[in-house]
Symmetry: C2
Subunit: 227 residues, 2 copies
């Protein structure tokens, strides 16, 4: 695609994203764009989030995937309102896909709407969906260097969820170096370490989310990051 | 990009890829396109491959990356001839990037040229580079479902390298289900399990490569997969 065509396409996406955002805000629905590499643990962390939040708030998920609706099925099995968005060859969600996906989800009554993006650290960073927050799910097995190698997605994120921390004893991950690398690329570096398997850190993540719930002051969110 | 523009772009890429392939074959250089998600272990497996092969054959790497030359630096530190290809916003290598990258690498004397693609399970599958073989590096932490979720890249691959097998005791990965899923999408399913950390399986992978070395009969390669 040439530069001008790309600009037009992104401008069209931004218009739809703004419309999505306005409607989410009108209904007090907090939309969270959940991005990360394939296998980073996006669906698992949303399952753990649903278990932790189910008695207090209503959550829903639009689960983006190239070719299957496996993630939406997994989430439904965990009791979450979930709808698949099958993107075909597209390596990311866009605002219009979200708009169409909403038709299948009773989203207006939700407190949180998670937009689980396609597993990819490149393309999703370019497309605004209308979300309130961007979260990157990064597994401890992916290495310290990922923020420097995929800077745009980290630069645009409000929070990094470092997942699979139960595997840390088996790895040589230098968490301090990872934090330093995040500081280089994130304007407001924030990281929370979680294990969807053991539940470690899920409370802090839920606390972070609830700091933004229903337009309460987001200031308290800063106190729960482990930075 | 509309369909026609995309077709034109891919046709142009295919022409350059054919030219690359002819030149590689003329020089008896086996080019291997190494794909995989961010953090799957592509660079680590190439480092282990270099250690295992250094006394017998000459290998080189063109290391694709969005924003850094870290992988090329890591490989050079391991004694490998390596040249970075910085792709900017592009989520994949293309044939022309490879062509330009070759200018910095004494590739004509190599036995194997590895084209380490950008960490991504979507975009790289669409671009022929002129390689002889496609290999997908898939880490044991990524889950059994990835072949079904990213079918195109697995469908086009000659071999899946299942990496980080040293972590298997800590995981619930169902390797049999992963194999079943690969059988669904790969025309000629082939998998080798390796650990770049312990060296497990690296010999079999080197054997697989050498089955294709210098246009010797590739038939023996079939005997070393662990299918």
């Amino acid at each position: 695609m040439d530069g001008a065509a790309r600009e037009r396409m992104l401008a069209g996406n931004d218009r739809t994203a703004r419309r999505n955002r306005e409607e989410f805000r009108d209904r007090h629905v907090i939309a969270v764009n959940v991005m990360g590499a394939p296998g980073a643990g996006k669906t698992a962390v949303l399952e753990a989030t649903a278990r932790a939040m189910r008695d207090t708030v209503k959550i829903g998920v639009l689960a983006g995937d190239l070719a299957t609706d496996n993630d939406a099925e997994r989430l439904r099995s965990a009791g979450v309102r979930a709808e698949p968005i099958t993107t075909g060859a597209a390596c990311h969600l866009d605002a219009d896909m979200v708009r169409r996906g909403l038709a299948g989800l009773p989203w207006r009554d939700l407190n949180f709407l998670f937009l689980e993006n396609v597993g990819n650290l490149v393309c999703p960073a370019l497309y605004d969906l209308g979300q309130e927050f961007n979260v990157v799910v990064l597994s401890v097995t992916e290495g310290e260097d990922k923020p420097l190698k995929y800077p745009t997605i980290f630069q645009k994120s409000d929070l990094v969820l470092l997942t699979k921390t139960d595997l840390l004893p088996q790895l040589d991950l230098d968490v301090d170096l990872l934090r330093e690398n995040l500081k280089i690329v994130m304007p407001h570096p924030a990281i929370l370490a979680v294990s969807s398997k053991t539940g470690e850190g899920i409370d802090a993540w839920v606390h972070w989310l609830q700091g933004h719930d229903l337009h309460r002051s987001p200031a308290c969110a800063a106190t729960v990051t482990t930075w």
